[in-house]
Structures are given as C-alpha cells and as structure tokens.
Symmetry: C2
Subunit: 288 residues, 2 copies
C-alpha cells in the first residue's frame, strides 16, 4: 500500500471510530453532544492518530485496538483546540475553515465541549482495554506538566523575548507531549520492548519540535507570500516563534536537521518504521 492510500485509510477509520465513540447528537443534552461532534468530526489532518497507528503497526498491533488510543489522543487534541480558541485564550473565530466552537454555539457550550471531550478521552481508554499505564501516559502528556502546562507557558510568553531554549521548553510541553503520547500509546498496544520504546520516544521528541518549526515557517511564509491577507497570526499576537527568533533561513535549517535526527532515531527499527519515516516527510513537506 502506498503512503497516500495508507494515510487516507487511517484517516477514514479514525473518523469512523470517533463517530462511534462520541455520544449521538440525539442523546441528551442534545446541544452539548451536537457541539462535541462539531468540534471533533469532519476536519483535521489526524496527525496524532496517524502517528499512533504507524507506531503500533511496527509491532503488528491490531488496527481496531489502535483506534482506541488514536481516538483518545485526538479527543484531547480537539478539547485543547476548543479551549484555545476561546476569547480568554487565542480568541480565534475560524478553525479548519469553519467558525470555531464558541462562535458556532456559545462560550459556555465551547467550555463544556472541551471539558467533556477530555473526559471522553479517558473514558474510551478505560472502557476499551486501555491499561492504567496507558491512561497515566495520556494524563501526564495532557496535564499541567504536559500540554496544559505548555499553554500556560505560552500565555506567559506573549510579548516577551524568549531564548531558543525557552521556546523549545514551551513547545515540548504544548505540542510535543501529546505527539509523544500518540507514538508511545501506539507502541504500547503493540507490546514494544524497552529498547524500541526508547528509540520511539527520541523520535517523537524530534518530530514534535519539527512539527512546530514547520508550523512557524508556514505561518510566516503565508504572511509574506500573500500580501494583503491577514498577516501571520503569531506575529500579529506578538508571540515568539522559531522564525522570529532564528530568522526564516535558520528555521528552515533547523527543520532539515530535525527531520534527519528523527529518521536517525528510527534506524534501529529498519524497514518496520516505514510509515513513521513517511509521516516525517509528510509533516515537513506539507507546504514547503
């Protein structure tokens, strides 16, 4: 199976599994369930589920079993977007080409949507064969010493001059922790040995940063390439980025280095890591 076909298949099965795990909009409270589905379904590249399945396949993990952590991680991601878009955070009105949750519904509903999506992530893990170890892994990645902590650091950083090290610390928490959890949870389903887990953990650290560097580059290039459109969001909000700290050329060099390091971390796994290598290239080559 070539990579685009594999990717489309995982995206389709993730959509279908999320459909199944989310409460029906015909179940009370209707508006909340409607909004939870709106915030989760029908959009997104599903990078985290792709990483989860790719890591699980290395150990011949069963795809149906992999759907569970893949969806749990994606639910945590969807919750974080609903909350990040709120007026007291990033105050975003558009997400994936649609009005954000609080614009389409209202602020209180978007708050509850995020709350309930987070709960659902732990619920589907606990109800579908997730072990306490896997649940702890997802919680550590999501909480105040993971993603939510990264958000707090991000808030505190607006308008401040950060060093590259401080920026890296922020992103390791804000986006890196959940990406790492996606990879490791997939490996857990496939019963990976400790040595392989170590290699995957190193890979996940590199790819988490790579993802962010590429995001910063795309944000900056969109603003310079298409004059007259809304300027780059990060620059507008005076948020430090790899581009603002390093300049565009060095940020691109950093992406090249991270891609090489990520692939090097997978070397011990040989051809079994094929999908993870393809995903690494996909993340970098999205647009530049």
């Amino acid at each position: 199976m070539d990579f685009p076909t594999w990717m489309a298949a995982i995206q389709a099965r993730t959509e279908s599994a999320l459909e199944r795990f989310l409460p029906l909009a015909t179940t009370a409270p209707h508006r909340l369930h409607h909004a939870m589905r709106y915030a989760t379904l029908g959009g997104g590249k599903r990078i985290r589920p792709l990483l989860c399945h790719a890591a699980g396949e290395i150990f011949a993990g069963d795809a149906t079993r992999l759907d569970v952590p893949a969806c749990a991680v994606e639910l945590v991601h969807a919750y974080s977007l609903a909350h990040d878009d709120l007026p007291c955070m990033d105050n975003d009105v558009l997400r994936r080409g649609k009005p954000t949750c609080h614009v389409e519904y209202d602020e209180a509903t978007a708050l509850l949507v995020g709350d309930a999506l987070q709960t659902l992530a732990f619920q589907i893990l606990a109800e579908n064969g997730g072990t306490p170890e896997m649940i702890a892994l997802l919680a550590q990645a999501s909480g105040s010493r993971g993603m939510a902590g990264g958000q707090a650091i991000d808030l505190a950083a607006v308008g401040k001059a950060l060093t590259v090290e401080e920026l890296e610390f922020m992103h390791i928490h804000k986006t890196g922790a959940l990406i790492r959890a996606a990879v490791l949870l997939g490996a857990h389903v496939g019963a990976a040995d400790d040595k392989t887990l170590f290699a995957l953990s190193h890979f996940a650290g590199r790819i988490g940063l790579l993802f962010q560097v590429v995001d910063d580059i795309l944000d900056a290039e969109a603003s310079t390439a298409t004059l007259g459109k809304t300027a780059g969001k990060d620059a507008a909000q005076n948020k430090p980025t790899y581009v603002s700290l390093l300049g565009l050329a060095d940020a691109k060099h950093m992406a090249v280095d991270l891609r090489r390091d990520a692939k090097a971390a997978l070397a011990p796994l040989g051809v079994r890591a094929r999908r993870l290598i393809e995903l690494t290239d996909y993340i970098v080559d999205r647009k530049f």
Copy 2:
C-alpha cells in the same frame, strides 16, 4: 470515634493527600501550579471524600487506598467549580469566602486550572492502583452524560419553566452523578459485592438529590432571613429550584422524605453503614 472527630480526621487526611497529589507551586509552570493549589486546597466541606471513605469503611477498605479515589473525585469537583465560576458560566467572584480563581489570577489561567485538575484526577487514579473499571466510573460520572451534561442542561434551563421531573433530571446529572461516583468508588476499594453496590447506588441517588434540595432551601432562607443582603443567588439568576417549583414547605417535606429513603436504602448494611447515616444527617442539618 464520634462523628465530628471522624469527619475532622477524614477532612484532614484529604487535605494532606491533595497537597501531596497536586504539583508543587515551585514546579514549572509556577503560576498554573500555584493557581491549581489555590483552587483546591484550604476550603470546602469535602463531602465527596467523606462519602468515599464512609462507603469504603463498610468493607474495611484501607484508608490510604481510599485517599486516591476520594481525591480524584474532589479534583473533578474543584475543576468544575473553577469553570462554573467563569464569566461565561455563572460569573461568580466569591467562592468559600475567597476571590474565585479567575478573579485571583485571570480567566485563561482559571480555564487551564480546571483543565489540568480534571487531568490530574484521572492521573492519580491511574498511577495509584485505580482499575480501568474505577476510571471508567469516574469518567462516566464527570462527562457529557454526567456532571458536564448536567451543567449544559442547567445553562439551557435559565429563565425557563421546568417541571419537577426536569429539575430532578438536571440535578441527577449535575451534582448527583459525582456524588454517586464518590460512594461507588469507595465501595470498589473495599471490594463490595453486587447486592451491596446496588443498595449503595440507590442510597447515593437519594443523597445526591437531598444535597441539592437542602442547598436550594439554604439559598432561599438566607435571602428571606437576612434582608438587606444579596438576595438568593438562584432567584437572582432566575434559575429554577426546588423552592421556586414546590414552595419552601414542600421542599422541606421533600428533604424529609429523601433523608428517610436514603437511610432505608442502607438498612441491609446494618451498623456498618453508620458513617453514611451520620453523613446523611449532617448534609440535612447543616443549617436548618
């Protein structure tokens, strides 16, 4: 040990366990961790941990093991308060005699505090011997078909004429589900049999409603008894309550009936249910 001594001991050990489970304020991100501790420590009657320990003691459950679900439920409760107090929800400025979390810190921090406290609840269960069954039980009680769902129903009910049945449906979700989880999680630690779990579940349903009816009565009596002070918050926000639907006298009758039913549900457990019976009386006799 008499009841006040027992209660003080459980409250003290809960405070101490929460102190231990919460990240230190000296751990980065400092402001977030400081705010998480502010929102959780040093206040509250700890009704849910008391119910959890009382239920666990029936089966000689180990107190240190009971601290885990007791604190997990209390962390979910604390998260819900931080979010309920936000301007887009109840817009409250005072909680337990202190400024609410978003007043003391800021809205974005209060949002992240709630998010991270919820995560921590699942994390401490998963890291300290909680089974997937216990984690699923807490998630079901907290999510869109439990507490968060009750909040959504509450939001939709403002300014509307509800029937008593609709009001009961709302409270069974909003407060009842988590109270039931506190009782059943305690019983799980103590390895209760199915027959006893059924009795405890029935008890928990009654006590959840009882708790709300008493709250409504206290809210109404405070407003009539102390003229010149802020009027009852529920009436001011035009929220339906048992008092507004039934009148004060019938709401008090309802409390009497619920107390009787709750105790009757415990009858098969005999003297072992002593603390749960004492807690039932404590909940009713708090102020009237």
